[in-house]
């Protein structure tokens, strides 16, 4: 896949995230990392490995097992002048902190009429395909899109992982930064050195194609790229649009891409019903009704609880399903 292919100085997504944390903690001494097992161990994925040795136990903190306190205390730390980067061990466990994220972190600027704001980044790995136990793969990003005040960021490539994380930490508003655990080490690519940031609300076309547009974010982008290769063999050229951030959403970029192909498939790892794909579809048909000449199909996980790892392939979107949906759409 082009980006993974490109030359020297390659990094994995995990290395890009770790590098960005090192750089930003060195650049801004207000930045601190807190969460379960993030210090001594360096996190269950070792994303934060080395940070405690480098920046000390005051700025890299192993917390008790309490997600609500991690998020709630991060808000207080931010009000007190720190810049917390909190890790929730898996996105599924943000449910334990839900009352502190949407109603508190996201609304504090509004509630205080700007007197206070929450410069807090919540990092959380998520997504399936790696046979993790229950809760660990849950893709619940859509739930946060109903909490105005927080931004939702979901990189799929190492360069974006760095650029979006630096942007997130520096953003004066709270950001939920979603890490695709299945890609942590498998996707490698060049990462711009130095102070590389990616502005929120800018989508990225990762493949050009005239026949159909595949819209996705996070790990699903790579499923779409694989599907596009497959489709290409059958003479169908697909564009792949990586949204990169869901809130704010790059509506202009999305519509521009839609108008080029007039056929669209949206792909995500969350269950179909109520997934953020529905928002993408609703937005497209509202803004580009005229240029659509086939119904927009969604390829998503099934509307069931996440099954055990051994069963997840029946649950998750697959390349085969994306290819089939794209063909139906093109042939409509």
């Amino acid at each position: 896949m082009s980006i993974a292919a490109s030359g020297q100085a390659e990094q994995s997504i995990l290395e890009a995230i770790r590098g960005a944390l090192f750089d930003e903690m060195a650049r801004d001494e207000r930045v601190m990392v807190l969460g379960m097992d993030v210090g001594q161990l360096g996190g269950v994925f070792r994303v934060t490995r080395g940070l405690m040795e480098k920046f000390g136990p005051e700025r890299v903190v192993d917390t008790p097992l309490a997600e609500g306190a991690i998020v709630g205390a991060s808000l207080g730390l931010a009000i007190g002048g720190m810049v917390p980067v909190a890790e929730v061990q898996f996105l599924g466990f943000t449910h334990q902190a839900f009352h502190q994220i949407g109603p508190q972190l996201a609304r504090y600027r509004f509630r205080s009429r700007g007197r206070f704001h929450a410069q807090v980044t919540i990092r959380a790995p998520f997504g399936g395909g790696v046979r993790t136990p229950e809760f660990h793969p849950d893709a619940i990003e859509a739930q946060f899109s109903q909490e105005p005040g927080i931004k939702i960021v979901c990189p799929a490539f190492p360069d974006d992982a760095k650029g979006l994380l630096l942007e997130a930490i520096r953003d004066p508003d709270p950001v939920l930064y979603l890490e695709p655990q299945r890609l942590y080490r498998s996707v490698r690519g060049q990462v711009p050195p130095g102070d590389h940031t990616v502005p929120f609300g800018t989508s990225r076309t990762v493949r050009e194609g005239k026949d159909v547009l595949l819209v996705a974010w996070s790990a699903a982008v790579h499923l779409c790229l694989a599907a596009a290769e497959e489709l290409s063999k059958g003479g169908i050229e697909a564009s792949v649009l990586d949204l990169r951030t869901l809130v704010p959403l790059d509506v202009a970029g999305l519509i521009a891409a839609v108008e080029k192909t007039s056929k669209v498939v949206v792909v995500h790892e969350a269950p179909l019903t109520g997934g953020f794909g529905a928002e993408i579809v609703a937005t497209i048909q509202e803004e580009a009704f005229g240029s659509l000449d086939a119904p927009i199909r969604r390829v998503a996980s099934r509307d069931t609880p996440y099954p055990p790892g051994s069963m997840e392939d029946h649950f998750l979107p697959t390349v085969r399903r994306i290819v089939a949906a794209a063909r139906t759409t093109v042939e409509f």
């Binding site: 609500g68 709630g72 808000l75 207080g76 009000i79 009352h99 009429r113 007197r115 508003d173 809130v247």
Partner: protein
Amino acid sequence: MSSAQVVDALRLMLLSRAVDDRLIKLQRMGRVGVYGPVHGQEAAVIGSAMALDPNRDWIVPASREHPAMLRHGLPLKNMFATYMGNFDAAAVPEGVRLLPRQQAIGAQLPHATGLAWALKLRRTGGVVAVYFGEGASSEGDFHEASNLAGVMRVPLVMLLINNHYAISTPLHKQTAAVNLAARAEGYGFPGFVVDGNDLMAVYSTTVDAVNRALAGEGPTLIECRTYRMGFHNTSDNPKEYRDSAEVDEAEQRDPIERVRRFATREGIWSAGQEAAALDEIRSEIETAQRQVEALPKPGAAAIFEHVYETLPPRLQQQRSEAMDDARPR
């Protein structure tokens, strides 16, 4: 407490009671949404607040601690604006070490732990005092915030205002614990029960806790045992769930009367002084209310302010629609 402090405290207590009366009146007139009075809890709230230094310490309130917020620097006008629906004018002014009131019960507790943690990390000195009710002490937030505060040994004073009710729920349905201060041991810091209607006792216990925190000895939990003499809020009618005998009995322990008697005995307070104080208070309240009434009502655009530092395109569009809708047709 010095004589001067006692007089200040008594004055604040009278102000608190007068503010209760005014906002209840305004609510009955339909000019205030919902209001929850401090009535009965003045000694607990004011005694603890008097132990804090507004130029050094922070207050993280729940929603029934107006006199503490006023004493700490919130202008009376801003407090009235809170209830009279002018949210921009209600904001805590720059420089005042106070967080906004919290309407999600218990949610302020982890914020307080985090803020105290920041003071410690930044070595700025000062402590954080967080207020919450005995009802809030049943929420997971209380537990998680307390345990984290203990582990990080943060300069936190936890003021549990046990007024024996959470709306209609009496203490014995809230917990089987003999006292809630006992929970502190489970977090590795001391807890104390104090008569929340005894101004001096609350004050001195809080002073000790502040000193422990300043000395780097970590958090303290103080359970102030008091009684909610009024209704939960203006939509509540306590007669539906508690008998008046209980309330009558509490009237005998009115915290204001207690301080008034003491101050009079000490010769530092007189009927004349009280009359003068009440006059001043009345005009302060008049002024605050009038100032708020004189303010323009915020327009549609205001709900799009302070959502984010910079408004994303989709919200810019929604704002222009909303301002358009709001234009009189």
